[in-house]
């Protein structure tokens, strides 16, 4: 046994003893708030008298949403040409807006599903809002391809339904894959959102005083009673839906990118598209989450629930995905040079220095440069700056889709076909209107549904842990045994 005896000589002991370090995790709910405080805080948002600012925002949002309504009415009654869709740019703003909105949705699913699988507990304060954002964003996205087909009354041909010509959809086409991907995405997001909300709706039901509230929340809460036997199935279902949504969210934007990548057009026909689209989608989605959450936090005083730590995490994800997007742009350029295909090479030179150089510059500034500011802790802690950068991210990601779609289509193989694409007034109003539509739905959500996942937040605070009680949180512990026992 000479070998074991040699060990201490070969590796001398550095430490006499191993002491556990005390490294407390950053609290997810500040000021040691208890369960009841969380219930009160979140439920009051729904139960209080409708604030005046809400009515103002609601009316403005409704008015802006009517732009989309009017634009679509005009389109249906006149023809798809009112959208400035003409040769060679037949996809124009319609598809730019579609990809923009569908991308925004992806952060909601990332927060609710991928961060759930990765056990990132900070997601609990923001997942409900982010999931709502996903659903409303997908609704806005759906408008564009639906009306882009022109004769909207035949849009049901997109689905494999029997029709009088007995012809079926073409399953070889990525556009058909997209129909399945987007409709599945919307349905699964809705199921996940609603299922997660059931326990919180039960809380609202049990607090309801007015009859309509009792019926409304009673109906939506489907008799949830917080039984442990139910929680066991619920948690299993939640985990499974998270596990199903993860490959779903990755596949949706992958399939959206196939709409481009499967085509032979220079600038679109690249294998980097799926990962780079997914990263871009999450990047734009986090931009939108920050844009929405920061004002909500300020208006409702949710600083104890959405802490600086939450904002830090979101900024860091934005930084990470923004850097991936920047890498994607660089790699596209490299491959177009390295691939030695003159058409590819031209497409990328044209993108950066051609007639749309200004769009490319906006894209690079907003998507590659602005998120790099999040390296600085000072900026991450300055809420106003974070909000402004999040707006830049939204703008940049819209321009990314504009650059990809318009520059590739406008200057394709045949110079005789080239054109400089300009949107029409209808284009602009229809798109601006979708922000109104989105805000309209989001304001209704704030007013009538639990803004935060109360049950999930309660689950992650220290008081919830049945094995932590004696140790307790570092401060505020002294009054707890008296109150609780």
């Amino acid at each position: 046994m000479a070998y074991t005896e040699d060990v201490p000589m070969v590796r001398p002991v550095v430490l006499d003893e191993v002491r556990q370090t005390h490294m407390p995790r950053r609290p997810l709910v500040l000021n040691n708030r208890d369960f009841h405080w969380i219930t009160e805080k979140v439920c009051r948002i729904v139960e209080e008298k409708t604030p005046n600012w809400w009515w103002v925002c609601f009316l403005v949002a409704g008015f802006v949403a009517s732009f989309t309504g009017a634009g679509l009415l005009y389109l249906v009654s006149t023809g798809v040409g009112v959208w400035g869709l003409r040769g060679p740019v037949y996809w124009g703003w319609a598809i730019v807006n579609f990809v923009f909105w569908i991308g925004i949705g992806h952060a909601g699913t990332l927060i609710s599903a991928i961060l759930c699988l990765l056990k990132q507990k900070w997601r609990t304060s923001i997942n409900r809002t982010a999931e709502a954002m996903t659903i409303f964003a997908v609704m806005c996205a759906g408008i564009f391809p639906l009306f882009h087909v022109g004769r909207i009354w035949f849009a049901w041909w997109l689905f494999p339904l029997p029709n009088s010509q007995s012809i079926w959809p073409n399953f070889r086409s990525p556009l058909e894959w997209d129909v399945f991907a987007v409709s599945t995405y919307f349905t699964v997001s809705l199921l996940f959102w609603y299922m997660g909300m059931v326990p919180d709706l039960a809380t609202l039901r049990d607090r309801a005083k007015k009859t309509w509230r009792k019926y409304f929340y009673g109906f939506l809460a489907v008799g949830w009673r917080g039984s442990c036997r139910h929680w066991a199935n619920y948690e299993m279902a939640y985990l499974l839906l998270a596990g199903l949504s993860t490959p779903l969210v990755l596949s949706v934007h992958t399939i959206v990118s196939f709409d481009f990548a499967v085509a032979n057009l220079p600038g679109w026909h690249t294998t980097i598209f799926p990962p780079y689209f997914v990263a871009g989608a999450i990047f734009s989605g986090f931009g939108m989450v920050l844009t929405l959450i920061l004002p909500l936090r300020a208006v409702y005083g949710l600083h104890d629930l959405i802490t600086q730590y939450h904002i830090d995490c979101m900024c860091k994800i934005t930084l990470a995905t923004g850097s991936m997007v920047g890498y994607g742009y660089a790699m596209e350029f490299f491959i177009s040079w390295y691939g030695a295909n003159p058409y590819e090479g031209f497409a990328f030179i044209n993108r950066a220095f051609g007639p749309y150089w200004w769009a490319y510059l906006i894209m690079i500034t907003c998507n590659v440069i602005s998120p790099q500011l999040f390296w600085s802790r000072w900026i991450r802690e300055n809420t106003a700056l974070v909000w402004i950068i999040s707006i830049f991210v939204n703008i940049g990601m819209w321009f990314e889709r504009f650059v990809i779609i318009v520059t590739s289509l406008a200057n394709d193989y045949m110079p005789a076909n080239w054109d400089y694409f300009t949107p029409t007034v209808v284009d602009i109003f229809t798109f601006v209107g979708t922000f109104g539509f989105f805000s309209f739905l989001f304001l209704l959500f704030i007013r009538f549904l639990p803004l935060m996942a109360m049950a999930e937040i309660k689950h992650v605070i220290p008081q919830a842990d049945p094995h932590m009680h004696h140790e307790g949180p570092s401060h505020g512990d002294h009054h707890e045994p008296e109150r609780l026992t």
């Binding site: 079926w168 991907a181 049990d206 442990c228 199935n233 919830a464 049945p466």
Partner: protein, 176 residues
Amino acid sequence: MSKTFGLIATFGNTHKLYQAAEEICDAGFKHWDVYSPFPVHGLEGAMGLKRSKVPVFTLVGGVIGFISGMLMAWYMGEFDFPLVVGGKPLFSPIFPFPVAYEMTILLASFGTFFGMFITNRLPRHHHPVMDFNKWPGITDDQFLILLEAKDDKFDLEETRQFLESLHSLEVVELKE
């Protein structure tokens, strides 16, 4: 109205709730349940519950989804209306894969969603435990354990004493 449905014991924190659940499980009760405003970590283990059946629904949904996605592409593209597009085969397992993939996720999610409600026997209009006078607190910050009278081991006085010995805040008889 005067029939006893069960005994309710209330608890002020998850630690005592967890310990009480362990003791009740050890005492061999079958018809009982714990009610809490959020899922208490590990409580289903303390209660001695079996693994949830929801994954079965998920699996069935997923398998049906994948098969139906592939069958749909084959039936529509090759069997019912063969139409050559772009010189590509009428059917291949490759090109309808995204469709079958999405159908797998869609039906697996439906299976999970409805599986959760089916295994929980929800929606349900009313449950006797909701008649408890402190009920609204259960979806807020209270915890309670309900031992149902239909359990073989249930005896109004003995069970009451047993529940009181578990550091409960109060023990209340629930009438049906």
